[in-house]
Symmetry: C2
Amino acid sequence: MKKKIGPVPLIYPVPIVLVGSLVDGRPNYATIGDCAIMGLKPALVVVSLGETHHTTRGILAHRTFSINVPMTKDLALVDHFGQVSGRDVDKSQYVESFFGELETAPMSEACPVTLECRVLEEVTVEHRRIFIGGVVQTHVDEAFLSDDAEPKIASMQKLDPILYALDNRYSSVGRAIGVGYEEGAAYKPNGA
Amino acid sequence: MKKKIGPVPLIYPVPIVLVGSLVDGRPNYATIGDCAIMGLKPALVVVSLGETHHTTRGILAHRTFSINVPMTKDLALVDHFGQVSGRDVDKSQYVESFFGELETAPMSEACPVTLECRVLEEVTVEHRRIFIGGVVQTHVDEAFLSDDAEPKIASMQKLDPILYALDNRYSSVGRAIGVGYEEGAAYKPNGA
């Protein structure tokens, strides 16, 4: 029996990322879970930020941003970056930044996977700024590149990302439970 | 040392959901990982589908859709729904559907959490149709409602959702590792 709880965007869990942008010439990073893959070819992503977010200023100024996927060992920094604004704290001192092909999308050396993105579309819904980005280049720590996967990327258990949900808890990834396009190959409804 | 692997949208892991729509008067569901929360107040979500997806037809016709969050026990059905099209298979026979406030957003009884959504914005990038939806109502199985969380929702470990990543593996959620806005409260860079 289901109960109505009002309009709550209960998609769970969500991957936690750091969104990077260049604000007044300085790298800034915001912790968000409002992000996703929007397509593989072309490689598309989406992020949503508040219009007054410091990071948003940098994205609007340069039409570029980065997505950086942290590991659970960095949880304290990641949670901290969700609590303080770049207006009040120079976050660039906490993160060793590097740049790729774009000159205005700072990325974090400490994150094993980073994406540099160009804004393709921008949608405003009330105070939210939603940016659909085209991935220009993806950078992966060599230690995490695997030869036997396509794209060549290590297992989730090794990459050890941070999950979050609206119960306000962080979780790690659990065990592998199956392979895409194999688990359902022999599916029959009701065990028929 | 990081290596460039080309433009790959490596956000990981992603939550797997069933997107529901009404196509020619019949409920249809597509398995996707290209979805996210876009905001809490207002309650916003995003989904991305191929323009030729059967589900997309229903969304374009009615400007409504549902998001249904399955459990790992339903992995075989969920994976199957990612392999077959509603053009070829009547998926409504596999799913016990119900409707909420909208009359064109079928939802799955078997999923503990379902959202009915109205399309607020639509963005086309090449062959992808990206729908930003406003959540009209959220339905949660009573068994999963918790009294001590806000929103009143059970732990991820109990809801047991399905994760997916571009290594083509499904995973379950692991252990809880922290509380939002607490882990970083005392953060100091470099242990200072």
